[in-house]
Symmetry: D2
Subunit: 342 residues, 4 copies
């Protein structure tokens, strides 16, 4: 009766986090683990924080290896998911942690990724209006990007309630695991410790159209997004500062009421008490999103801040939450809400 | 049928970690939470990583508040546990995360702590020879110090197998949470980030006699300990480098065999494969201890290295593990073995 | 012939950085060092990175102690500078690293600081139009705040060239030394390492009116500022992401040209080559400001990013640069332009 | 009259630090800068903290490029220095930051490095007995390793004064820049932040015979060294905890006196006042070594702790200090003694 899950790309950060969560999931047993250049190696050398799986050996990412599972998680580089998914039957739940099937607009995909659009799958952010319903019974899921998760949950209530003008300005700081495990000089510890720097400035980050897609859906009109990501000296976590001009007459009470109503029943979104602000350190390893919002009356802007763990709620936790919905399990099953602090 | 647990000192790091683990323990419900200067405040402002308990208000640490629980965890400053425990009946399990009842030798206690010795309770390091038996059914437990946990598990097999001379030289690096949550200038982020420094050099650290007590028990003869703790720029984790001169004729194979045998059945001690070395980053938030050992033939020394999370296996995890044994529950119940990485 | 300088508040981070720079200044000798609660202690225990001054003992911050110097640097808590300065003759150069004399608008001062306005001194940001001239021969200098330094240098060219609408949206990340050396729980290493969090959200940060004052002066019209500061897990450095809507018809070439022209002759502002982005790690300990700018055409916004060391260019370096101008010395004298990296 | 210096390997951490120091040296002008795979690139893209040299382009490491300089600094991978040095005339001062010419014993070299021994050059640790004299007028200098610098200065006085038994046990923590700038997965920021781990355990680290060589020379008898290096989550700095059994009858006063006498006239070694312990954070970017020592009477061991910046005193600072001596310049010229803190 247990659900058998395979993980393709088990040696990376996203794959490792999927495994960490599945090890704590009461209905899942872990099947095949695959890698690319690491195939043949024991997982213990690659993910030493998962001692239960230390002796499991990575297999190649091949259809025969992934066949025969109830769920297959794909934690692959962008562009590789479609080919793998095609080989898996329609009865298999495929949960793609990559970007390939997130965007609805093929033109936007091609503009930001430079390759043909593979298609659009049900989007694994249950907190979006309508998303939960679309995930029930789904057999293909596109897990949102880590930044779009943080940013969408930061601004959705403002746009859904019609409180904000359709031009969002967002600056987010991310831990380095968001950049993956491939060794690149600018990601060396010596380079990142003690330093902050931006990247993809000026609208180039690939998560930008995904944010615009989500916020526009909530607003019912096109929302433009100015997004600047920065790299912070920490392994995990995203702090997203999300601002938008307030519509005329909007009050602080109205803003707070909209957020309170939007998140009253959300199991993983924690709107903090007035005066307390999110900290990524409070959500590490958890599926919790901390949100807070203020109205800056002098500047006329709504300022919402959200904190998520980019690997948990921002990737693997969102994936498991969506899997639960797709399989008809309780949405919260196996997902930690306590963070590891300090 | 659930076990009702109170936590005295719930606003500190040790108390917070006890709560984090108890929230994941299937047989425990959380009762009273007490504080000292923080009494009256909601826990959400003090431990924002525990959203389930955000609205719980701290009560004063008083007998009437702690009465009526099956288990009381004490996470108090040294010297306060005896008075609290005296008020709790003999049928209540009292688990003291402080130092008061760890040492057997009253003279050593007085020499290192400068106060009268309160007594000796069963010692909560189940991996020590004989300790598991003493914990079964116990109603008072002294949780080991974080450094003694790491160091004892690093060197026990060498001493128990008679492989090492009775003079240990140990240098350990600890994350800053080991120093607690009281605001002191030298613990500011500005001071600790990017810096390493020693403290208590020359034998003065209060954990030294506890290490000597454990290693001497294993060796069957008095073991002297040279211990130097250092403060490392990370919130959690202890890396203990433990060396002792090898007895004549000791071989690398004999050393490895002794460690393999000692830890073959230990659920939380993970002797790594040859060539892989412990990293505190692999055990964060888990009750796992990573151990590795080598024989330096040129220098004639056994070098063992262990990694623990000072707050989990080094404090709260050890406390819950011992509670499980005392109450006749499965030893591993509710205790994570996966670390949070990266 | 040497200039004799006293430092009031020598035990804090700003005072320590002033001393570090003065030790490398060829025309300055260091006179009295004063403290408040630390008076009577040797500096070696408080600023161990300044071994040349290890045996110097802090004196109380009193007029008799500060008298007889050519320059007095004040690194005191806000509100204390006026009383000290009043006791010092008009021939003494007083360089105030605090906020007391930065704002021109008494109403803004009272709204943000809650105390009567002490006055306005020449403003120590030489890169501002007209500032250099005002500093020549000055005997009172108000050193800018660290955030206003970073933000003003990020956006000045855009406003001075009339390229941006008068509503700036700014998010900045600061190292923890910006919060000073007073021990507060939320500044503990355990709390800040591995975490990002905002503070003063919604317009409350006291540096906001100072930014508005500078940007408005450049624009020639009132500029509103939405400013969100965040605390980053690093000891030093500010990364300021500064955005403003581009005026109609503004091109990327026009933006770049404006920045190139504005900073062509500035000794400490380094406009990076196209494609290279600022990193705080590259300016640590230096008086250098790294600036880069882009036009996000889809969002219609100018995005400028600047990186400074909050203690050097953001405080003590700006102070020494202004002192040089006031005393008729070469502006760059004694000021490092190389950062300490990695 | 200025000294013209070339730097081979200018894109790495050691080369960058040599350049940082030479930019502040009043008698040196910077000539050719060479790289290997980075030849042809501007230095600004590789060492953004050196804005004065941003437009300098790296040339290939070839004899014709390095010819015509008074001093050539080699910051090359081990094994490449001999070939380069052979092409440079005997009148050129060659300062090798690599290991090739450090060891006197060819057998030890071959055992640890696995290649034929290239020879032995005057050793650039002026604080060693006799070293200063050997450096005067030298035209070839072998700069010590970073760990041997810290460890030798930690234990030299104890051995030179005959206070310690000839078996040293050393554990040192190093910042990640010691491992260089080549991108390797285990050096990623995500891996090293928040984690400590050992490496080269059991006697395998290549710096071990160099430490033994230095300590044996001071002791006048062979000293064996048990050395365990650990990787700490910080970019720079080495904290070396160095212990040895005290000879019978040795007192704390005798130990302190020996250290006081040894370092009384050393410009860069700062023996701290009793009770104050070294911190790497206090020496960042400086050529200063902080040293402290205690006698652990219960364990019968001398415990000395030293802190250096691995790139400054541990590499480039030691190189420039030795260059000064070789060229007859004041030993301290151009070398910072203040650290960058916090």
């Amino acid at each position: 009766m247990a659900i058998r899950a395979a993980v393709a790309g088990a040696s990376g950060y996203a794959g490792g986090e999927v495994l960490r969560l599945l090890l704590g999931h009461p209905e899942v047993t872990i099947g095949a683990l695959t890698g690319n250049s690491n195939a043949g190696q024991p997982l213990g050398a690659l993910q030493p924080h998962l001692p239960q799986l230390a002796d499991r050996v990575l297999e190649p990412t091949a259809p025969g290896v992934l066949a025969g599972h109830d769920v297959v998680f794909l934690a692959l580089p962008h562009g590789q998911s479609a080919a793998v998914a095609r080989e898996l039957g329609d009865d298999v739940l495929v949960v793609d942690c990559g970007a390939d099937f997130r965007l609805k607009d093929a033109g936007e995909w091609e503009r930001f990724y430079g390759t043909p659009h593979a298609g659009t799958w049900p989007y694994g952010l249950p907190e979006l209006p309508g998303a939960r319903e679309a995930l029930h019974g789904a057999r293909r899921i596109a897990v949102p990007g880590c930044y779009p998760t943080a940013v969408s949950l930061g601004l959705l209530p403002a746009y859904a309630a019609g409180l904000a003008e359709p031009e969002a300005v967002i600056v987010a700081a991310s831990g380095t695991s968001g950049a993956g495990k491939a060794a690149k000089p600018h990601l060396l510890g010596s380079e990142v410790m003690g330093s902050m720097s931006p990247y993809g400035v000026g609208g180039g980050h690939r998560h930008t159209p995904e944010m615009a897609q989500n916020l526009s859906a909530a607003a019912g009109e096109p929302v433009t997004v100015s997004f600047t990501p920065t790299l912070a000296p920490m392994p995990r976590g995203i702090l997203a500062t999300c601002t938008a001009k307030a519509r005329p007459g909007v009050t602080a009470e109205a803003v707070r009421a909209a957020y309170g109503k939007a998140y009253a029943d959300e199991p993983f979104v924690h709107l903090l008490p007035a005066g307390q602000w999110p900290a990524t350190g409070a959500v590490l390893g958890s599926n919790t999103v901390q949100v807070q919002v203020a109205l800056d009356e002098a500047a006329g802007r709504i300022v919402a801040v959200s904190a998520v763990d980019n690997l948990t709620k921002g990737t693997a936790g969102g994936a498991v939450q969506s899997m639960n919905l797709a399989l008809g399990l309780p949405e919260e099953l196996g997902l930690p809400v306590t963070g590891l602090a300090p």
